[in-house]
């Protein structure tokens, strides 16, 4: 007999295409917002830790906004607990912290570029 978890997946299957679509949407959002954060950090002229804190705070804010605006209405209605994204995404870690990893390179690039342009 399969384990409890396998049985659960067989009973309520995960549609692979939707999952891929969801994570791709999230990824696009993350990389574009990260670049924009880089632009604003550069224009504000933030340096060293201030810039990184700015980035971390804003990308967490993006995740929260994404959750509140897009995920929460249907997710809470279907009886999930608050901050539970399992209706649309597989891992909670990917949703909340994945943006930090995905967008980091883009952030550094645009930050450096605009910092250089503005303070030159």
């Amino acid at each position: 007999m399969p384990s409890e978890q396998e049985l659960q997946i067989q009973i309520s299957p995960i549609v692979q295409e939707s999952l891929v679509h969801n994570s791709r949407t999230l990824y696009n959002l993350q990389s574009i917002t990260a670049s924009l954060f880089g632009v604003s950090a550069g224009i504000l002229g933030l340096e060293s830790y201030a810039g990184f804190v700015f980035y971390v705070a804003l990308s967490l804010l993006t995740s929260v906004l994404f959750y509140v605006l897009r995920v929460a209405p249907t997710s809470l209605a279907s009886g999930k607990s608050p901050l539970d994204t399992s209706r649309y995404f597989r891992g909670a870690y990917d949703f909340w912290a994945g943006g930090l990893m995905n967008g980091f390179a883009g952030f550094v690039l645009t930050w450096t570029l605009f910092y250089g342009l503005v303070t030159a």
């Binding site: 990824y27 574009i32 060293s48 883009g106 450096t112 570029l113 250089g116 030159a120």
Partner: protein
């Protein structure tokens, strides 16, 4: 510790127009070009004759049955399983049933295998050639310029990387030369390509690395040098050990418990 005075270097603003922007624009254009080059070079999927298709899809069929047996009732699973196992073991689906037990042909001598490798080579080339070209271009034209200051401090270890070609011992490692801007671009332009070319573009190297991992699994399955007969026998064994259960077991109770009108 005494506060180290902030280094300031007066740079010609023309540096931006003649170094920074050209590098960035060239990087972006190369990415776009690489995307289209890969699209053009992608060889059309090769036509397979009926027997090859049959061999591969029969195996896939078995895998599907094994993966999704839980939607079937027990009698229907048993009939399918018995039929598949018999056919697999007798080699009924093989492309050439006479060739059973012989060692698989050398992948190097098989033309279809060579083609697969050529495809991979082409992709690798599309990655490597532009990168080396651009790097030597930058080295030839722009080496030795300090163009920008990073907005965050770095340790001294990064100095040799960021200031390649600038032999100044006391300069703050935050200053970067043109070649390090190139490296930043390689990693950071991902999102720009995402924006320009759609998310499935071939320009982004990350995606390409992912791709290389993905289809390799599928490619390996029917790849050269794999004996289909052995695959069939292994699959027959896998099918034989299935212990049946069904999603239909107790579905009425689940339904009555779960749905509120």
């Amino acid at each position: 510790m005494a506060q180290v005075p902030v280094q300031t270097i007066h740079r010609d603003p023309q540096l931006f127009y003649w170094i920074l922007f050209p590098i960035t624009i060239v990087m972006i254009l190369t990415g776009v070009l690489r995307h289209y080059a890969t699209v053009l070079m992608a060889s059309a999927p090769k036509k397979q004759d009926q027997k090859t298709t049959r061999e591969q899809r029969s195996l896939l069929h078995g895998i599907n049955v094994r993966g999704n047996y839980h939607v079937l009732s027990k009698p229907s699973l048993t009939t399918r399983r018995d039929a598949l196992i018999t056919a697999y073991e007798s080699g009924a689906y093989l492309k050439n049933p006479d060739g059973r037990g012989q060692p698989p042909p050398n992948p190097m001598s098989d033309p279809s295998a060579m083609e697969g490798m050529m495809g991979m080579m082409k992709n690798q080339m599309a990655m490597i050639i532009p990168n080396t070209l651009i790097m030597s271009w930058i080295n030839a034209f722009f080496s030795g310029y300090v163009i920008m200051k990073l907005p965050f401090p770095l340790t001294i270890k990064f100095k040799s990387m960021l200031q390649a070609g600038v032999a100044t011992r006391d300069m703050d490692p935050r200053w970067m030369s043109s070649i390090s801007w190139y490296f930043l671009c390689i990693f950071g332009l991902q999102s720009v390509f995402n924006f320009l070319l759609g998310s499935e573009n071939a320009a982004s190297q990350m995606a390409q690395q992912m791709n290389q991992m993905g289809p390799q699994g599928a490619g390996q399955m029917f790849g050269p040098g794999v004996d289909p007969n052995k695959q069939f026998l292994a699959e027959a064994e896998n099918l034989a050990v299935i212990e049946h259960h069904s999603v239909l077991d107790g579905v009425e109770q689940r339904l009555l418990a779960g749905i509120k009108v």
